[in-house]
């Protein structure tokens, strides 16, 4: 039948109305494996090359700083020229990289193998490579634990302020405001210089003494001064999350506060918390090295990257490399952690993805 050119009739193919075959169904509906928020974030992190490389660098440095001291033949505090029952051998002091002392050369000539001093030795005849490795370990540990302390205190006070509201909230937030407006570095230096003297006698005889009063002082300072931004952040998160419609919906549906905390508040806060903790670590390392450089850092003979750099400054004209090595390591760690933290933020902050 010929169509009338003015007719609105559509040519239909009856085949178009058949049920879809299995093959077609598979083509149309692409089922993807369900993905969790965490897995999504990891995928994004993996795609971010800069953050991924920084992560690998940080992991390598961390593992090296933990493993190497266990298998290294020299220790960070041992003055190699100072053997019991023998006069001090000054030829161990200030060795250049890969150089050997007189007695070591004799032993090598006798056929013994002597482990090389990769970065030479310092002015007291201590193997410099292991001191750098150990200093890295100390710096990383201080950064990590200081951040954990900040996290715990900030989270506790922040969530108390956020949940309790009213007068408690006001008092905590005023304290935060005052601490926040204090010039932090000056206060840190002041506290560090006083605490190392006052803490010494208190710690005597306890387990903490082995860590040294200066590191404990550093932790106390972080506990006192740096929890503010974390507390503010968490309080803000809790306040804004409590106003969300889905929390209201859950409440309407009869959910208890335990359920709301577990399913809504914690998962929504956790990425922000992890990210700001990750970004706190380089900050803490920065502060520690700064204090060590001013002579307020770790107790001797324990090295940290800052104190190594500070010691090296005295002989900088002849032994410049001793300053350059810890300098490079600090910069690598801080840069790596910062880039990794930025990557974490890009990958895990749900608000940025919106």
């Amino acid at each position: 039948m010929a169509n009338n050119p003015l007719s609105m009739q559509v040519d239909l193919d009856p085949n178009d109305f058949l049920p879809a075959s299995e093959e077609e169904k598979e083509y149309m509906v692409q089922m993807r494996p369900s993905s969790t928020f965490f897995r999504d974030g990891c995928k994004r992190l993996y795609k971010n090359k800069v953050a991924f490389i920084s992560m690998i660098v940080i992991i390598l440095i961390t593992v090296a700083s933990i493993v190497l001291p266990m298998m290294w033949p020299y220790s960070y505090a041992k003055q190699l020229g100072n053997q019991p029952g023998r006069p001090v051998d000054p030829s161990f002091n200030n060795l250049a990289p890969m150089e050997y002392s007189v007695s070591e050369q004799e032993r090598m000539e006798a056929g013994e193998s002597v482990f090389p001093h990769i970065f030479g030795t310092d002015s007291s005849g201590r193997d410099y490579f292991i001191r750098v490795v150990y200093g890295t370990r100390i710096s990383l540990a201080v950064g990590f634990f200081a951040s954990i302390i900040v996290l715990v205190i900030g989270m506790t006070l922040g969530s108390i302020a956020g949940f309790a509201g009213g007068r408690v909230d006001m008092v905590i937030m005023r304290i935060v405001d005052i601490i926040y407006s204090l010039p932090d570095m000056l206060m840190v230096i002041l506290l560090a210089s006083v605490l190392r003297e006052t803490l010494g006698p208190i710690l005597e005889g306890t387990v903490l003494q082995t860590i040294g009063s200066n590191i404990i002082a550093l932790f106390v300072i972080f506990a006192l001064l740096y929890w503010c931004s974390m507390a503010r952040l968490i309080r803000g998160q809790i306040l804004s999350l409590r106003e969300q419609e889905y929390v209201l919906a859950a409440e309407t549906a009869g959910a208890g506060s335990g359920w709301i905390i577990k399913t809504h508040l914690i998962p929504n806060c956790i990425s922000v918390i992890i990210i700001s903790t990750a970004l706190q670590i380089p900050n803490a390392i920065f502060t520690e090295s700064f204090l060590s450089f001013l002579g307020l850092g770790v107790n001797a003979p324990m090295p940290s990257l800052g104190s190594l750099a500070s010691e090296a400054l005295n002989g900088v004209t002849s032994y410049g490399y001793r300053l350059v090595i810890p300098a490079i390591v600090i910069s690598l760690i801080v840069l790596g952690l910062n880039l990794f933290g930025d990557g974490l933020r890009d990958a895990f902050d749900p608000k940025l993805n919106a």
Partner: protein
């Protein structure tokens, strides 16, 4: 200026006074918590001499009385005599050190701000070009480098390896490296700040409108884009000054500059109570005032910002 802005400013000024008071109080009580007095190092001192010294510096009075006296004196700009530097007043020592430090600090501040804004604007305008990438890589590296590392490396490079500049800050041309060391970090920070805010501004509708009106490229950049992207830079003035003040502590140590930062560090190792307190208070007040100024400027410059 509406009443809301005014109220904000008054509140902010009041709060700054509270902060300064907190600094003085904390400094005072923290310093007095140290076991032993400032004279414990000098061992060969008799009990009478000790008592006489304590009486001379008012250390024998009750703590609270010492505190109130100190508070009143500090408000009058009198921080008492220096305990270790015989016959010198703390105020004189600070003023003396400030001359050098302020010179370095102000030059560093100006260089950092001007160079940072220029580099940031350049990077934003030539986005993804080779200069942009170079600027971003350099600034990322500088931001991650503690000031003492930067200073030490510059010292090795320019004073020892190349021998172009003197390592001693007191000699001629010796202040060049301290200034550069202090300026590099804030400059990098401002560069990144300007770049991102400039990119943000360049994407705004009013830039397109200005271009559509036929405003020349130069005027669009200078009058519309750059002016608006400078707002975040203003907020950075406070932290920038704080950085330069604390940075000067190590930088003056590295380059042996006779400035207030060096006095501060030396007074801590020498336990010169009054000098430590005086220096802390002066530097802290400086930082608090600068924060106040940059906060107020920020609100005044950009009326869109919510005051509360």
């Amino acid at each position: 200026m509406d009443s809301k802005t005014l109220r904000y400013i008054v509140k902010r000024i009041f709060f700054s006074f509270v902060t300064i008071w907190a600094v003085i109080t904390i400094t005072f009580f923290v310093m007095h918590a140290v076991p032993g007095g400032p004279f414990t190092r000098e061992k060969a001192i008799s009990a009478e001499a000790q008592a006489a010294l304590n009486a001379k510096y008012g250390l024998d009075k009750p703590l609270f009385e010492q505190y109130t006296t100190y508070l009143v004196d500090a408000l009058h700009g009198n921080f008492g005599p220096s305990i270790k530097q015989r016959g010198r007043m703390v105020t004189d020592v600070i003023v003396d050190g400030m001359k050098t430090s302020a010179r370095i600090g102000i030059i560093a501040l100006v260089i950092a701000t001007v160079a940072g804004v220029l580099l940031g604007a350049l990077a934003a305008l030539k986005r993804n070009s080779i200069p942009d990438k170079i600027i971003m890589v350099m600034t990322t590296a500088f931001v991650s480098m503690p000031s003492f590392i930067m200073g030490s490396l510059l010292l090795i490079l320019f004073c020892i390896t190349l021998g172009w500049l003197p390592a001693n800050g007191a000699s001629k041309g010796g202040l060049i490296l301290p200034v550069i060391t202090l300026a590099l970090y804030p400059m990098s920070y401002i560069t990144r700040l300007t770049r991102s805010s400039m990119l943000d501004v360049l994407g705004q509708d009013y830039i397109r409108t200005a271009k559509a009106k036929g405003v020349s490229e130069r005027n669009v950049i200078l009058k519309h884009a750059l002016k608006n992207s400078l707002i975040p830079v203003i907020t950075y003035f406070g932290p920038e000054l704080a950085y330069i003040v604390t940075g000067s502590l190590v930088v003056e140590q590295i380059f042996a500059v006779p400035g207030i930062g060096r006095y501060f560090v030396n007074s801590i190792t020498g336990r010169d109570y009054t000098l430590i307190m005086g220096t802390t208070i002066v530097l802290a007040t400086l930082i608090v005032i600068m924060n106040l100024v940059s906060d107020i400027l920020y609100k005044v410059v950009d009326p869109r910002i919510n005051l509360e």
